[in-house]
């Protein structure tokens, strides 16, 4: 997978959290996902699909990170994951996908995003069933970890002409 397609999501995470929390998360080295290691206690998943590109992105948080983000955002302390925390996580992944979409649109790779789904369960794992590799980007916010996973597939036959068309148009 081209790094060009991962960056819009990384930038969107940084922008979203910086705007909403006033704190910029620290990005750690991305890895290609090999094992289904325990990811977190709450995850927001959103799919996206278009003519040329389709895939899914997931934001996974351990309980402590999710509660901290909620506290920073709303100013209220919650003892455990509840519907408000779920809403926050779902909304976060929605904003991230929306932010990335803008960048993809600019590249001429339009897609639509689906409705976010939030999964709650102690130490659940997420598997993306695409043929393309899954990129995991670990983040740290105030020394609390969370991660983003991206699985993205391009229709090779369709992507080429559209890119060439843009070059021709630009030239």
């Amino acid at each position: 997978m081209d790094i060009r397609f991962v960056n819009p999501f990384v930038i969107a995470v940084s922008n979203t959290l910086t705007t909403m929390l006033g704190k910029t998360p620290q990005r750690l080295a991305p890895v290609i996902k090999k094992d289904n290691f325990a990811q977190g206690d709450i995850s927001g998943i959103i799919g996206f699909a278009g003519k040329v590109v389709h895939g899914s992105v997931a934001l996974s948080f351990p309980e402590a990170t999710a509660l901290k983000i909620y506290e920073m955002m709303v100013g209220e302390v919650q003892p455990k994951i509840n519907t408000d925390i779920q809403d926050t996580v779902g909304e976060l992944v929605n904003i991230v996908a929306g932010g990335a979409k803008t960048d993809f649109d600019r590249e001429g790779l339009d897609f639509h995003i689906s409705i976010p789904t939030v999964v709650v369960g102690k130490n659940h794992t997420i598997v993306h069933k695409g043929s393309s590799p899954v990129v995991v980007i670990p983040f740290q916010l105030e020394s609390l970890p969370f991660s983003m996973e991206i699985c993205l597939k391009m229709e090779a036959s369709l992507s080429q002409p559209s890119r060439q068309a843009r070059v021709v148009a630009a030239g």
Binding site: S43, G55, Q86, G90, V127, K129
Partner: protein, 170 residues
């Protein structure tokens, strides 16, 4: 949410189960999900989106049912959820969404399917974060239960009309 948009998913599931597994699970009372109940041990979620529609579906299975599905398709006995089971569950969701896509096109709803994600975790819950309610469809096969959830948001035709007007104006 109109039932004519839910039926394609039910039909696709019935058809997939019949052709791949030779089973006809019985559909039970459809309900609108208002809270998150413990759903299953393994779930496949697939999002879809189009010009005027977006949504997601989830298929959730208890571990036992997932193992049985695998045995039915591959003919091999597996004692707990592993990579192969995840593949099968993800593929099932993919096929159901693909089947529904074809039928929705008859209702002039054109969607693209995203890549399915499979969640593994004892008794996890799933919440769809749309403004529309999501429909929970329980199925029973022999003594096993599994569920399909469909959440779908359709932009009003008014908006499309406005868009068409705007296009004409330019």
């Amino acid at each position: 949410m109109d039932v004519k948009y839910i039926n394609p998913f039910i039909n696709a599931l019935d058809h997939t189960m019949a052709t791949m597994l030779g089973v006809a699970p019985e559909r039970m009372t459809i309900s609108v999900k208002s809270h998150n109940i413990a759903l299953g041990d393994i779930s496949a979620i697939i999002g879809f989106a189009g010009e005027n529609v977006q949504g997601s579906i989830a298929l959730s299975f208890p571990e036992k049912m997932a193992l049985l599905l695998y045995r039915r398709i591959i003919g091999e006995v597996v004692t707990r959820i592993n990579k192969d089971i995840e593949d099968i569950v993800g593929e099932l969701a993919n096929i159901v969404a693909g089947g529904a896509k074809t039928e929705l096109e008859n209702s002039r709803l054109f969607i693209h399917n995203a890549i399915p994600s499979v969640i593994v975790g004892k008794n996890h819950t799933i919440a769809h974060k749309g403004t529309t309610p999501f429909v929970l469809i329980p199925f029973q096969w022999e003594t096993h239960y599994f569920t399909m959830e469909v959440s779908m948001k359709i932009e009003s035709t008014g908006l499309l009309f406005k868009r068409a007007l705007a296009a004409r104006a330019t």
